[in-house]
C-alpha cells in the first residue's frame, strides 16, 4: 500500500460498511489504538536549515532512518530538534519523498554524493520515481563505466599472470594492443586480406596478348603465380580460423557468430575447388563459388571499428529502409502498369510487358535516364514526366531523413532497450510491492493473530512476539480480514494456491504451521470451516488405514475466551469420508481471531475421526446440521 494514501485508510475502512450486512460470519476485532497521540510537528535541523513536518509523515516509511527510532540518536535535547550534519539540498529531496511518496533525483547533484545521502537515510535508490529514474540510471552507468575505465587502464599496465594460455590467446585476438605478438598477427592478417582481395581483382584484368591467342586475363596467363598467392592466403586464413576456434571461450557461440561465418565462406571456395575435378558441368558452379571470395573483404571489419558501426546502424535502420523499399516498389508497380498501357498503342514500343516497364520506371524515378526505353505516345510522355517528378520526391526526400534517422535511431534503439529493461524492472518492482503488501498481510495474519490470541489467554510475556506493526498496517490488515470474513474465503499467496490446485488428489498436506499451535491449550473448534469441493477422484486406496484420510479439511480455529477452560484440544480438522459435508458453523458468540492450520497426524485427537459431523464443544454453539454433499455457505 502506498504510504501516500494512508490518509485515506479511514475512508476505506468506512467503505467496508457495504460488507457488513452481507457477511455471514462475525467480523474480527478492530486493532486498538493504544497510544492515540495527537499529530505533532517535528523539527529537523539539517546543517542549520530547519525543516518541519508532521510526525506521521515521517512514519509512513518505518524502515528508513527518519521513519524509525533510529532518528532518536540524532535528537538534540537542548533545542528539542533532530540535528543532521548532512547536505540540506539533498535532504529536500529526501523529505519530499516522505511527503509525496515519490523520490526525485535532481540533475545538478553528483551521483555519488546522492547515493551516499540515500544510503545514510536508509532509502533504496530503486524507488526513484519514473520521471527521474532514467536519468539516474544513465548517470550511474556513466559513473560506473568511468570507474571501470580507470581500473582497466590501471590493470593494463600490470601483467595478469593468472590467465591460461588459451585465454591469453583469445585476449590477443580480440585486443591487438595487448602484446606485440598480437599486433604482429593483426597486421599480418590485414596484409594478407588486402593481398587476397587485390589478387582477386587483378586476376580478371586483361594482361596483354600471348602471341598466337587472344587476349587473356591475367589470371589465366599467370595462373600458377595466382594459384600460389591464393593458396598462401587461404593457408593463413585457415590457420587464423583454427586458432580462433581453439581460443574461443565458447566454441559454439563463436561458430555461430557473423565473423566466423564470413571466415568460413571466404575460404570454402578454395577447398571446394581443390576437391572438384575440372568437369565441364560443375565449372559453372565453380565460377559462382569464386564470387564468394569477395567476402574476404568483410574480414576487414575486424580491423575497422567504423565498418562495424556502419553494419550495426544499417541493421538498426532496417525497418526504415524496408519501408522506403516498399513504398518505392508500390510506386514502381503503379507507374510501370500505367506506362505499359499508355504505350500499348504505339508501334514498335519497347514496353512489351509490365515487368519490362519496371526497368523504365526505376531508371526514370532514380533520375538516371539511360534513354534505352522512351515513351512515344502523348499519354506515355505525360505519365513519364509525372513518374520522373515523383521519383525525385520519392528518392531524394527520404535520403536526408534516413541520414538523420541513423543517429536518431541509433540512440533511440539504445534508449528503447534501456526503457524495456527498465519497464521490466518497474513492473517487477510494482509486483514486488504488491506481493509485499499482500504477503505482509498474510505474514502478519499468522503472527499477529498469535499475539492476540496469547493476549486473550492472558500470557503477557509473549507480547513481544512477532514484529510490531504500525497502527496503519494493523488497521489495513483488519480491513482485509473483514473482507475475508464477508466472503468466507481467505487470502493466500500464489504458491499455496498452486499447491491447492494440485492437491485435488489429496495427499497429506505438509503442515508447516500447526506445530506452533499445538502447544496452546484451550483451542476449540470451528467457525467458517469450509471444505473444498469434493471431486470425483478420491484415491482412498492410497492411505489405507491411517487416521488422516485422503480428504483433509482445512479449518479455521477459533480461540475462545477463558470462560471455557475445560475444552479439549481438539481441532475440527476432519478426516471426513467421501460424501460428508461439513456445515460451517458461525454462531459462536465470541468473535475472535482465526488461524488457518493444517493438522498433523500426531496432533489429531481421536474424536476428530469418529464422528462425521463434528460437534463443536461449548455451550454456545449450535449443532451443525445434516451434512450434505455440496459445499455450502452456512445458512443463518
Amino acid at each position: 500500500m502506498a504510504a501516500g494514501v494512508a490518509a485515506w485508510l479511514p475512508f476505506a475502512r468506512a467503505a467496508a460498511i457495504g460488507w457488513m450486512p452481507v457477511a455471514n460470519c462475525p467480523m474480527p476485532l478492530a486493532p486498538a489504538d493504544k497510544n492515540k497521540r495527537q499529530d505533532e510537528l517535528i523539527v529537523l535541523n539539517v546543517s542549520g536549515r530547519r525543516f518541519q513536518t508532521w510526525r506521521t509523515t515521517l512514519e509512513r516509511y518505518p524502515d528508513t532512518l527518519l521513519g524509525s527510532t533510529e532518528k532518536e540518536f540524532f535528537f538534540n535535547e537542548d533545542t528539542k530538534e533532530y540535528f543532521f550534519d548532512r547536505d540540506p539540498e539533498v535532504f529536500r529531496c529526501v523529505l519530499n519523498f516522505y511527503r509525496t511518496g515519490k523520490l526525485h533525483y535532481p540533475r545538478y547533484e553528483c551521483i555519488s554524493a546522492y547515493d551516499d545521502e540515500l544510503a545514510f537515510y536508509g532509502i533504496l535508490p530503486e524507488i526513484i520515481g519514473d520521471c527521474c529514474y532514467e536519468e539516474y540510471k544513465d548517470r550511474k552507468r556513466e559513473n560506473a563505466e568511468r570507474l571501470m575505465d580507470d581500473n582497466d587502464s590501471e590493470n593494463n599496465q600490470e601483467s595478469v599472470p593468472s590467465l591460461s594460455f588459451r585465454q591469453t590467446m583469445w585476449r590477443a585476438f580480440e585486443n591487438p594492443h595487448t602484446s606485440t605478438l598480437a599486433l604482429v598477427f593483426y597486421y599480418v592478417t590485414g596484409f594478407f586480406i588486402a593481398v587476397s582481395v587485390i589478387t582477386n581483382v587483378v586476376e580478371t584484368v586483361p594482361c596483354g596478348t600471348v602471341p598466337g591467342s587472344k587476349e587473356l586475363p591475367c589470371g589465366e596467363r599467370y595462373s600458377v603465380a595466382f594459384f600460389c598467392l591464393d593458396t598462401a592466403c587461404v593457408m593463413i586464413f585457415t590457420v587464423e580460423y583454427l586458432l580462433r576456434l581453439f581460443a574461443a571461450p565458447s566454441r559454439y557461440r563463436f561458430v555461430r557468430s557473423v565473423m566466423s561465418i564470413i571466415d568460413v565462406v571466404a575460404i570454402m571456395p578454395y577447398y571446394i575447388g581443390l576437391v572438384m575435378t575440372n568437369n565441364e558441368d560443375v565449372s559453372g558452379a565453380f565460377v559462382t563459388l569464386r564470387v564468394f571470395r569477395v567476402f574476404r573483404i568483410f574480414k576487414f571489419s575486424r580491423h575497422s571499428q567504423g565498418l562495424r558501426i556502419l553494419g550495426y546502424t544499417l541493421k538498426s535502420c532496417a525497418s526504415e529502409l524496408g519501408f522506403l523499399l516498399f513504398s518505392l516498389t508500390m510506386a514502381i508497380i503503379i507507374f510501370a502498369t500505367v506506362m505499359f498501357y499508355a504505350e500499348k498503342g504505339s508501334s514498335a514500343s519497347k514496353f512489351t510487358s509490365i515487368p519490362a516497364s519496371f526497368w523504365y520506371t526505376i531508371v526514370t524515378m532514380t533520375t538516371l535516364g539511360y534513354g534505352d526505353m522512351v515513351p512515344k505516345t502523348i499519354a506515355g510522355k505525360i505519365f513519364g514526366s509525372i513518374c520522373s517528378l515523383s521519383g525525385v520526391l520519392v528518392i531524394a526526400l527520404p535520403v536526408p531523413v534516413i541520414v538523420s534517422n541513423f543517429s536518431r535511431i541509433y540512440h533511440q534503439n539504445q534508449r528503447a532497450d534501456k526503457r524495456r529493461a527498465q519497464k521490466k524492472a518497474r513492473l517487477a518492482r510494482i509486483r514486488v510491492a504488491k506481493t509485499g503488501s499482500s504477503n505482509a498481510y498474510l505474514h502478519s495474519k499468522r503472527n499477529g493473530l498469535l499475539t492476540e490470541a496469547l493476549e486473550l489467554m492472558g500470557t503477557p510475556e509473549e507480547e513481544h512476539m512477532g514484529k510490531s506493526t504500525s497502527l496503519i498496517e494493523s488497521q489495513h490488515h483488519h480491513l482485509l480480514h473483514c473482507l475475508e470474513k464477508t466472503t468466507n474465503h481467505e487470502f493466500i499467496d500464489e504458491q499455496m494456491f498452486e499447491q491447492n490446485c494440485m492437491e485435488s488428489s489429496m495427499q497429506n498436506y505438509p503442515s508447516t504451521r500447526s506445530p506452533s499451535l499445538s502447544s496452546h491449550p484451550g483451542l476449540t473448534t470451528t467457525c467458517c470451516s469450509r471444505r473444498s469441493k469434493k471431486t470425483t477422484h478420491l484415491p482412498n486406496s492410497n492411505l489405507p488405514a491411517t487416521r488422516l484420510r485422503s480428504m483433509q479439511e482445512l479449518s479455521t480455529i477459533h480461540i475462545q475466551g477463558s470462560e471455557q477452560p475445560s475444552l479439549t484440544t481438539s481441532r475440527s480438522s476432519l478426516n471426513l469420508k467421501a460424501d460428508d459435508g461439513l456445515r460451517p458453523n458461525c454462531k459462536t458468540s465470541q468473535i475472535t481471531t482465526a488461524i488457518i492450520s493444517i493438522p498433523t497426524p500426531p496432533a489429531l485427537t481421536p474424536e476428530g475421526e469418529s464422528r462425521p459431523p463434528p460437534a463443536s464443544p461449548g455451550p454456545n454453539t449450535n449443532i451443525p446440521s445434516i451434512a450434505s454433499n455440496v459445499v455450502k455457505v452456512s445458512a443463518l
Binding site: P10, A14, G18, P21, N24, A379, I382, F383, L483, M496
Partner: protein, 227 residues
C-alpha cells in the same frame, strides 16, 4: 483532337495537380472545418468553511482538519472523479479488482449525481458511517446496495454487489473461488432479509432483519473507532 481513354485520364490528372498547386497559392479557398476548441475545464472546488462543516457533520474540528489534509493530498484539485476514486481504493486491495465496488461506492457518496465527489460529499458520507446511529448506517448501506435508487434491492442488484465484493478477493484464495459463490451468497442473503418473499428487499425489511441479527449489529459498532 481525338482523346482516347487513357489520355483522357492523363489530362484529368494534370488538371487535378494544377488545381492543387493553385490551392497552395491561396487562389482557391478550400472548405475548412471549424477547429473544435476543446476547453479543458479545470475543475476546482474549494470546500465550505470549517465552521459550516462542523455544523453539518458530527466530526470535531481536528478530525475535519486531518480528513481534509488527507483528501487534498490525493486530490489537489479538491474534487474526486470516478477514475481517481477507483485508483485510490484499489491501492488498498492489491490482490483483487476493486473497481466495480469502488464505482458503487462512488455512486453512493456522490449524492447529487454530478459525477464528482467534493469534500462536502465525502465528509457527509463519512459522518453518517462513522458517527451516525446504527439506523443511519443501515440506511446508508441500503442506499449503497440500491443501485438504481428506487427504494428496493432486487436480486440482480444484490448479485452485482456481491460479485464486486468477491472480485476484490482476487484469484488466490482459499478455498478457490467458484462461479456460483456470489449467487449462493445472494440466495442466503435474500432468505434472511426478504420477509414477504416477494423477491425484493425494501428498506423496512432490511432494517428490521439487520436489527434482528446480532452479528450485523455488532459489526456496525466497529465503525465507532475508525477515526
Amino acid at each position: 483532337m481525338n482523346l482516347e481513354g487513357l489520355e483522357m485520364v492523363a489530362v484529368l490528372v494534370v488538371l487535378a495537380l494544377f488545381v492543387k498547386v493553385l490551392e497552395q497559392f491561396g487562389l482557391f479557398e478550400p472548405v475548412s472545418l471549424e477547429d473544435e476548441v476543446s476547453l479543458a475545464l479545470m475543475c476546482r472546488a474549494r470546500p465550505e468553511g470549517l465552521e459550516q462543516l462542523q455544523e453539518q457533520t458530527k466530526f470535531t474540528r481536528k478530525e475535519l482538519q486531518v480528513l481534509y489534509r488527507g483528501f487534498k493530498n490525493e486530490c489537489p484539485s479538491g474534487i474526486v472523479n470516478e477514475e481517481n476514486f477507483k485508483q485510490i481504493y484499489s491501492q488498498f486491495f492489491p490482490q483483487g479488482d476493486s473497481s466495480t465496488y469502488a464505482t458503487f461506492l462512488f455512486n453512493a457518496f456522490d449524492t447529487n449525481h454530478d459525477g464528482s465527489v467534493s469534500f462536502e460529499d465525502f465528509v457527509a458520507g463519512l459522518s453518517v458511517i462513522l458517527r451516525g446511529t446504527i439506523d443511519d448506517r443501515l440506511n446508508w448501506a441500503f442506499n449503497l446496495y440500491d443501485l438504481n435508487k428506487d427504494g428496493c434491492i432486487t436480486k440482480e442488484e444484490m448479485l452485482d454487489i456481491m460479485k464486486s465484493i468477491y472480485d476484490m478477493m482476487g484469484k488466490y484464495t482459499y478455498p478457490a473461488l467458484r462461479e456460483e459463490a456470489p449467487r449462493e451468497h445472494v440466495e442466503s442473503f435474500f432468505q434472511k432479509m426478504d420477509r414477504n418473499k416477494d423477491g425484493v428487499v425494501t428498506i423496512e425489511e432490511f432494517i428490521e432483519s439487520c436489527q434482528k441479527d446480532e452479528n450485523i449489529m455488532r459489526s456496525m459498532q466497529l465503525f465507532d473507532n475508525v477515526i
